[in-house]
Amino acid sequence: AQSVSQHNHHVILSEAASLELGCNYSYGGTVNLFWYVQYPGQHLQLLLKYFSGDPLVKGIKGFEAEFIKSKFSFNLRKPSVQWSDTAEYFCAVNAHGNQFYFGTGTSLTVIP
């Protein structure tokens, strides 16, 4: 069965600190990869996605993610976080068919 692992359950950072959230998946074939963000009281929104091509993907709000196929990873990064980045972050994988497999999410708290 497919699985998506997010190892950081809760991350607390000060503003301007750098962020890296880990995501690993278990499927060995071709995958589409996504990071979604859920701000407090809001719905899931797409941050960025990878389908093919350049493994370094840039998304909205200064976020980027790097697909490393050999490590089955798709880590999310941001060089300098802001208080407004406080949210829940979900990694998702689409390996076949049309269902998405989600990680358990990482709660990010940014302290002003």
């Binding site: 996504f34 719905h43 899931l44 996605k49 093919s52």
Partner: protein
């Protein structure tokens, strides 16, 4: 910007009752999904729907669940006889394409929080 909408935002029901959760997908999307998230757990796929029929479903989606597109805009999830363990946030999503080479991101609604007492 078009978005997926869901009603109600919060539904409280007694165990054994039927509930219908409603979703309005983005208007030009053709693929529709339901997911659920039990408090503190991951978002789990329930079912996908295309061309008026279920295209995929998970083990969670048993005979107590059904989906329907009753008209050109709504997409509903019915739970026939709710159980305590059905308490969760239910998310509807839609996508324009299944073409994994082009882009098949799913757009999510705000969710319906179902509480079964």
């Amino acid at each position: 910007e078009p978005e997926v909408t869901q009603t109600p935002s919060h539904q409280v029901t007694q165990m054994g009752q039927e509930v219908i959760l409603r979703c309005v997908p983005i208007s030009n999307h053709l693929y529709f999904y339901w997911y659920r998230q039990i408090l503190g757990q991951k978002v789990e796929f329930l079912v996908s729907f295309y061309n008026n029929e279920i295209s995929e479903k998970s083990e969670i989606f048993d005979d107590q669940f059904s989906v329907e597109r009753p008209d050109g805009s709504n997409f509903t999830l019915k739970i026939r006889s709710t159980k305590l363990e059905d308490s969760a946030m239910y998310f509807c999503a839609s996508s324009a394409s299944l073409d994994r080479g082009v882009g098949n991101e799913q757009f999510f609604g705000p969710g319906t929080r179902l509480t079964v007492l």
